[in-house]
Amino acid sequence: MSASGYNFAYLDEQSKRMIRRALLKAVAVPGYQVPFAGREMPLPYGWGTGGIQVTASIIGRKDRLKVIDQGADDTTNAVSIRKFFARTAGVATTTRTAEASIIQTRHRIPERPLQHGQILVFQVPIPEPLRWLEPRETQTRRMHALADYGAMHLKLYEDIARFGRVTTAYDYPVQVNGRYLMSPSPIPRLDNPKLDRSPALQLFGAGREKRIYAVPPFTSVKSLDFADHPFAVERWSYRCARCGADDSYLDEIVVDDRGGRRFICSDTDYCDSRLQPQATLP
């Protein structure tokens, strides 16, 4: 099945060991960004090079891989990465959240609750949540070391002062295990509560910035907020036009040239499974 001329899962074993060491450290210190010697991957930065390296380092022959991009299994990025591992590792792949042992994701957490034993691998563009207020890496590291996160609340304060509510809709900063401030990658704010005490292991890989961080299973992940302005997810009056779900994250899709639009679930597997609960996909 798998292509010849490559090591299992593309990366050489020494690189995988190096990445696994970074992963172990990341799991031991939840939320802490561990630098690692990111390798060149056969796709450009911004397409998931960090996530791919993490997946390549943890995947085994018995794993079943699912890859989603903005929740969907059928977008270019998701299809290419799934095929990449099907060819270089010869592993089984799936589009069903419940059947996958490893899920690599870009910008979403599946709607279906994850199980203990599953691993969620995030592709991260900008791992440093403090970057917007401090461009110098030496300074942000110092702020992390001293847990100097007061300035982060300043952003929330400014939002509430100006708009009456926090307007950050994605990449909403979280504090992991009461210690490190962490960027959850650009997942919608709606997904933030799914990070908290998740039974699944959550790994984050940033290829361009060469950072790995992790949230071990059942770890507290708290979204920043104020006592009198508690964190809340957005609610819409729309339902999915396909499956009728009112609890999932929706994509707005323009369907004709007259401005007609529909809202459908961004998580394709969730939408499909609601339409055909018993169906087994090939």
């Binding site: 100097d148 304060y157 400014e158 009198d228």
Partner: protein, 261 residues
């Protein structure tokens, strides 16, 4: 709270700072009691700002000790404290007012946010309470509370400086370091600012180390004066005494150099 007026808040012993072969501070010794305002005067390059930096923790002294009495009544050596210990032990007991308000403010954040930030750093997580305190402090430094959401960029120099003072005082520090707080302001604005500082210092019982080269400012604000020249303290005493009856030749020169109006 076991601090008392019997023991100094800050004691500097043998403080020396060398930049290469240049001595910026030589063997500085002095004590500061709670509620006391000490002025440090001297010409540019005499080591005033370096001395302030050593106390504030921006500069690591080459030798010497800076004892600070914490709220718990322990004495800690600021010169030997790591940054994390410094934050843990001192909390927000020390403020620093920069000469240029742009160095001490975040210009892309609203006035209220600027005052609120130290509170959030101190762990305050109640938006209403933070905003209330910010509005209260804007009033205390005589800025219209309606401008709470405006950027300090749109404030005048004097207002920016008052905002910086509010930002420093909102966490109730016991010691405030001021580096030329009225520098670069025109005289009428200076006068109002000096009035405000004098009133706040008296109301809050703050200890202040005030670095200035303006003897008029020193006379108005400082209880005690230290005259620095070439990294040394050459004369020290009550402000009036030093300015009216200077003993050292350098102090005499300094005092006689002020242009009379």
């Amino acid at each position: 709270m076991t601090t008392s007026v019997d023991s100094p808040l800050l004691t500097v012993e043998g403080l020396t700072k060398r930049f290469g072969t240049r001595m910026a501070c030589r063997d500085i010794e002095f004590s500061l009691w709670p509620g006391e305002v000490v002025g440090v005067v001297g010409e540019s390059g005499s080591g005033k700002t370096t001395l302030l930096g050593c106390i504030a923790g921006h500069v690591t002294p080459t030798a010497g000790r800076v004892w600070f009495e914490t709220r718990e009544g322990d004495k800690v050596d600021l010169a030997a404290l790591s940054e994390s210990d410094r934050r843990r032990r001192l909390g927000h007991d020390m403020g620093f007012v920069h000469q240029n308000p742009r160095d001490g403010l975040r210009l892309d954040v609203s006035a209220g946010g600027n005052i609120g930030e130290p509170l959030m750093r101190a762990g305050m997580r109640h938006y209403g309470a933070i905003r209330g305190l910010a509005a209260e402090w804007l009033g205390r430094v005589e800025i219209d509370a309606a401008r709470i959401d405006e950027s300090p960029r749109r404030f005048s120099g004097g207002m920016q400086q008052r905002l910086q003072i509010a930002r420093n005082l909102v966490t109730n520090p016991r010691l405030v370091l001021m580096d030329e707080p009225t520098g670069g302001l025109d005289v009428s604005v200076q006068a109002k600012l000096l009035d405000l500082i004098r009133q706040l210092v008296a109301d809050l019982g703050l200890a202040v180390i005030l670095v200035t080269h303006d003897l008029g400012v020193a006379r108005l604000l400082a209880h005690r004066l230290m005259v620095m020249q070439d990294g040394r303290i050459v004369e020290t005493g009550l402000t009036d005494q030093v300015l009216d009856d200077p003993h050292e030749p350098y102090t005499q020169l300094l005092v006689s150099s002020v242009l009379p109006l």
